[in-house]
């Protein structure tokens, strides 16, 4: 929650001479974050009070007039479209060089001397929104008539004339500190933060004054709902409801609030001062002079102040009379029970409502208000008499009323919170030697009542911090922040190293990512949340995926149990711009478990899309898997995949580790390639890394280099297309013990090769552990190899 706080107002309670910037800095470091500082003299720079001397029709425009305006030293012509422009009117003139918002738009522009449709215009007569005061009541196409507001002479500076020579801080108030939403609370914190004296100022008399008590009552209050902890009402008779004085309007405006009438303004002003929301009813609208606090009835409706019709139910609390509801408690008043120009008797309400009820009620009827924002943070019942007394004081002073009744329904008065406090604990947690006296001084100045006990202290929490302070540790925070985090040294922990080691799966996951990037694959990061369409398009039943109870939109409804659909989606999006690429994603998939949180398995998907040579792509991807396995010390085996839906049967293998299937490598089945809208073949490997992590190791074993020369011979064999290399290889390797390796050198089909056949060039490695082979020995082996190939795989040697 952010508030706009006037520095002048704060300075009524904090005796400081700091510049606004210094104040903002110190305050941010010890209290709340000041997000911006606005100097109003700058906003109103080059603006003066003008008095309209005469008005003439613009010669070239029907809707414009030319006013001659006295701006002090001289009279100047200003073209103006304001419909309410009148002679002798006191107006706000923005002279060239000032900054205004055209018609109250978002952007500020610098005004220049100009001529409008052929008539010279020295500046501009402004509407309130054009100088950033959007909340001032002002009709469309009207200018701001200051005649009744101020009597400053022509030429007076606007900032001074409007008593706006002020600085406005935009401050973020943390949710635990509704007290600081009021100027008094904010000032109290600020005084400690900037080390200045705090005073209640004019407010002091109110805080110490008890409201009168009345023996006979003008109104009756019935509290039929426990969610209201305390309800106070004060009846003020004989009020005249007009506009509030400018000083009050100005403070509301600068805080971003809209002045309405003196009674509503008083309620809002007290809330600004104290952080305690108030409400005011027109007593005439309360049937039988009875206020009832009760749960709303099912189906009950109430037209609110903003015109919206709220549909209520018993989870929502209302303020009602004997017949009907008047207001939604703590959230917003009803349209018909508010004060108007005809009101003569008002009932001020100050109440304490259950925070959760207000929060839920506001969500349920979708109505937000400043009052609700405060109530839902948790306020103290002890603030009520003070707020009410202040409202009554202001009403008597500004609206001419007389207090005739005060009612207080408070069945279970709260006791102040008291906690033991040991300054040594604070020192220990902060790590700085802050003396007892300094700690106690900080607490005392913040309003805590500190009493010395035998070995420790006992601290009473002031009512305005009742919800926030929950125990001794909270005092540490007060002391630490006011001492100043910026005054503390930064120390690297010198204590014992941690007991745990890095999680191995995370290490291996990062290692795998780097391995793949090194091998030429680029990394995708897809959302773990996928749609039903994604799942169904990949023939995964949504029942096998974890569903979200409250998805944000239809395209993110389930936690993915496989990475493949996201991968296919990403490929589809890329193919138009990058027609082929090597890509991967490594992420957790979520496997549902009955009555338990899901199993999260780190999974890898990688591959190539836009494939033109299936055989070579397959070999490369398989090579990556094999190399990955070799580098991480595991042994994987590959077997032709059984018939299945997701993969292209003829071009896929399953990957097995330690007898368990851990993945698949091959071509995505045409059906899925098509359903995801992908134009060219996709080859992927999907590997359940979770099954491998515990066996992966950085195992580098040394193999002795051969002591005698190694001989390689390449031979090209013509075989049937469907003769697998593994068969050829086993024939070659089995031919003679001197054969130590058999590799693919080239695969060839095309000119010179009959259809249905392929030429496989194999590289045969021969070696003896104890001697150099003679060429005769090598020739003999190769003869045997050739004979065996002919015999076992119908291989014909080419060339």
């Amino acid at each position: 929650m952010n508030i706009l706080a006037s520095y002048n107002w704060l300075k009524e309670h904090v005796k400081t001479k700091l510049s606004a910037e210094e104040f903002a800095k110190e305050f941010s470091l010890r209290s709340m974050s000041v997000e911006s500082v606005e100097h109003l003299d700058q906003r109103f720079a080059n603006m003066v009070i003008g008095v309209v001397k005469s008005i003439a029709q613009h010669p070239n425009a029907d809707r414009l007039r030319v006013a001659t305006v006295d701006i002090g030293e001289k009279e100047v012509p200003i073209v103006c479209g304001g419909t309410n422009l009148a002679e002798n009117m006191r107006v706000l003139v923005a002279l060239p060089g000032s900054r205004v918002r055209w018609h109250g738009g978002a952007d500020w522009t610098t005004l220049e001397k100009t001529s409008i449709r052929g008539v010279e215009s020295i500046g501009m007569i402004c509407a309130p929104s054009e100088v950033g005061l959007d909340k001032v009541a002002c009709g469309d196409h009207e200018i701001w008539d200051l005649t009744s507001i101020i009597d400053a002479p022509a030429g007076a500076s606007v900032a001074a004339a409007l008593d706006c020579d002020d600085i406005i801080f935009d401050i973020e108030i943390t949710t635990n500190r509704p007290d600081a939403m009021g100027m008094i609370g904010l000032a109290r914190d600020a005084a400690v933060a900037v080390d200045a004296e705090f005073s209640l100022g004019k407010f002091e008399s109110v805080e110490s004054r008890a409201l009168e008590s009345f023996s006979s009552h003008r109104i009756t209050v019935k509290k039929d709902d426990d969610r209201c902890g305390r309800y106070m009402a004060a009846v003020v008779e004989g009020v005249t409801v007009g506009e509030s004085p400018w000083w009050m309007q100005k403070r509301l405006l600068l805080a971003g609030l809209k002045p309405i009438n003196v009674i509503v303004d008083i309620s809002n002003y007290v809330a600004l001062e104290l952080g305690q929301p108030m409400h005011a009813f027109d007593a005439e609208t309360i049937a039988k002079d009875t206020i009832v606090i009760r749960p709303a009835k099912k189906g009950e409706k109430l037209t609110l102040l903003d015109g919206k019709i709220a549909e209520l139910n018993p989870s929502i609390m209302v303020i009602a009379d004997a017949e009907k509801s008047l207001a939604v408690a703590g959230i917003m008043g009803g349209k018909d029970s508010g004060t108007t120009a005809h009101t003569t008797t008002v009932v001020f309400e100050a109440a304490m409502f259950d925070a959760l009820t207000i929060r839920r009620g506001s969500r349920a009827i979708d109505v937000a208000s400043d009052s609700q924002l405060l109530f839902e943070k948790g306020l103290s019942p002890s603030a009520l008499p003070i707020a009410l007394a202040r409202a009554v004081e202001l009403a008597t002073e500004l609206a001419g009323g007389t207090l005739v009744d005060v009612v207080d329904v408070y069945p279970e008065p709260r006791k102040p919170k008291v906690f033991a406090f040991n300054p040594e604990q604070a020192r220990k947690r902060i790590g700085v030697d802050i003396a007892d006296a300094q700690q106690i001084d900080i607490l005392t100045r913040l309003g805590f009542d500190v009493a010395k006990k035998k070995s420790a202290y006992s601290v009473t929490v002031p009512y305005w911090r009742e919800d926030d302070i929950e125990g001794e540790v909270d005092f540490t925070e007060e002391i630490a922040r006011m001492y100043g985090y910026h005054n503390m040294p930064a120390v690297l922990p010198a204590s014992r190293p941690p007991a745990a080691f890095d999680d191995a799966s995370l290490d291996w996951a990062m290692w795998t990512k780097k391995f793949l990037a090194g091998a030429g694959f680029s990394e995708f990061f897809s959302n773990s949340m996928v749609s039903v369409a994604d799942l169904e398009m990949y023939a995964v039943s949504p029942k096998d995926a974890l569903a979200l109870y409250n998805p944000l939109s239809a395209d993110i409804t389930h936690m993915r149990p496989t990475l493949v659909p996201s991968m296919l989606r990403a490929i589809e999006r890329n193919q138009a711009f990058t027609n082929t690429a090597n890509v991967f994603e490594l992420a957790r998939v979520y496997v549902p478990r009955e009555g338990d949180i899901p199993e999260e398995r780190m999974t890898l998907v990688f591959g190539e899309y836009g494939v033109t040579n299936a055989e070579s792509t397959f070999m490369q991807l398989r090579g990556v898997v094999e190399y990955f396995a070799a580098k991480s010390g595991i042994t994987l085996t590959f077997d032709r995949a059984p018939k299945n839906d997701h993969w292209h049967d003829g071009r896929t293998v399953t990957i097995t580790f330690d007898g368990v299937t851990v993945g698949t490598l091959g071509q995505v089945a045409d059906d899925f390639q098509n359903s995801f809208g992908i134009h060219r073949p996709v080859f992927l490997a999907e590997i359940d890394l979770e099954a491998l992590f515990s066996s992966m190791k950085h195992a580098h074993r040394y193999q002795a280099l051969p002591a005698f020369p190694v001989v390689t011979r390449d031979i090209a064999v013509l075989v049937d297309e469907k003769t697998e290399f593994e068969k050829i290889s086993s024939v070659v390797r089995g031919a003679k013990s001197l054969v130590t390796d058999c590799r693919v050198v080239e695969l060839y089909r095309g000119e010179g090769i009959p259809s249905g056949k392929k030429s496989v060039t194999v590289g045969v490695t021969l070696m003896a552990p104890d001697r150099t082979l003679t060429s005769q020995e090598v020739d003999d082996v190769m003869t045997t190899v050739i004979r065996e190939l002919a015999l076992r795989v119908d291989g014909v040697i080419r060339g």
Binding site: T175, N527, Y590
Partner: protein, 355 residues
């Protein structure tokens, strides 16, 4: 015999002098020094002589052989050097041709950030720990001093797991997509392995989607628990990280804030690089920061109730914790100027391969 040898030497030296190319050099070598060359032939003739003559002629023959060989070597050196000079003069490359990039892949920016962040914390003894991303609300909220119905739980805009209008529940409450990595705090403490210096980096989820907020994002959570852990140590760790990650000239500050699971709580700010911490740029207010400071994330001393939930005695142990967004941290440094954070996860290779 001797004359013939001397003549052979004279002839060979004369031929060598005329050799210009590598081919001529080879021809001359074969002619005079080859296995069946002229010198070899002459040596064969020696065998026919009687012992005395052989001794005398042999001496001369050896001199001749040495002379021819030396001359050949000099000739070879001359010709090879000449040929190299010739190649340098003739051979040419279009050196303006563009380079061919090595066929390496690209780690996602987020992976790069995670790797770098964990590396920095590893230097000061923090180990990476793994915790669920779909978890019990007990760990995401309850054990973090956020009882049921506490308004703080609304702030996280949490996704729940469930089907057919019912939230999935079990042993430890409702099942949620964890809205922060702080769910790892009590889980880590529960392991009972002390002291703790943990970094937990994982995916988090919140019900929000805009140019600045993603429903899925990453956080890194730091947790240190031991006897006598202090605010000043958190400050030290924060300073170390900022100076290593953002650069030694960046300033830091701790600013009071409020979180349920830490006490005291604060936000950590770093000075803005754009306006150099002044909050002002040439034409007015700096648009990137708030008054010269950028908010990095939240931190604080672990709340005693959180330590208790993990089974520790808060009078004996203290700790600090911090949780910051990976994407936010990365974008604050990189100057990659991504207006819309969603760009990170569009999986567009034209974007990804830039990094």
């Amino acid at each position: 015999m001797q004359d013939a040898l001397i003549q052979l030497q004279t002839e060979a030296l004369a031929v060598f002098l005329k050799v210009k190319t590598l081919d001529e050099l080879e021809a001359a070598r074969v002619e005079y020094l080859g296995r069946k060359g002229r010198l070899a032939e002459a040596m064969k003739d020696l065998a026919a002589l009687d012992a005395d003559a052989k001794r005398e002629a042999g001496k001369i023959a050896n001199d001749v052989k040495r002379t021819i060989e030396a001359s050949f070597q000099a000739t070879e050196a001359r010709v090879v050097a000449g040929a190299a000079a010739e190649r340098k003069a003739q051979e040419w490359l279009d050196v303006s041709l563009p380079g061919i990039a090595p066929a390496v892949g690209h780690l996602h920016l987020t992976t790069q950030a995670i790797d770098e962040i964990s590396g920095i914390f590893a230097h000061i003894g923090f180990v990476r720990s793994r915790h669920p991303e779909v978890d019990w609300d007990y760990y995401a909220f309850e054990s973090l001093n956020m009882p049921k119905e506490h308004p703080a739980r609304d702030e996280w805009e949490t996704f729940f797991i469930g089907d057919e209008g019912e939230v999935a529940t079990g042993e430890k409450g409702k099942i949620v997509l964890t809205p922060h990595t702080s769910n790892g705090q009590v889980r880590e403490i529960e392991k009972g392995e002390l002291p703790i210096r943990m970094i937990n980096i994982g995916k988090c989820y919140r019900r929000q989607a805009s140019a600045r907020h993603l429903p899925m994002f990453h956080q890194f959570e730091g947790l240190m628990v031991d006897k006598n852990v202090t605010v000043t140590e958190l400050k030290g760790v924060f300073d170390y990280f900022v100076k290593r990650y953002f650069g030694p000239d960046r300033a830091t500050r701790l600013r009071p804030y409020h979180f349920r699971f830490t006490e005291p709580s604060f936000e950590l700010d770093i000075s803005c690089a754009v306006c150099e911490g002044t909050g002002k740029i040439e034409n007015g207010k700096c648009k990137l920061c708030k008054g010269g400071w950028l908010e990095l994330g939240g931190a604080g001393m672990v709340h005693p109730n959180v330590l208790k939930a993990g089974g520790l005695n808060p009078d004996e142990y203290t700790g600090f914790a911090f949780g910051w967004g990976v994407e936010r941290t990365m974008m604050m440094r990189s100057g990659i100027n991504i207006d819309d954070i969603r760009t990170l996860y569009k999986n567009d290779l034209r974007f990804l391969t830039q990094f």
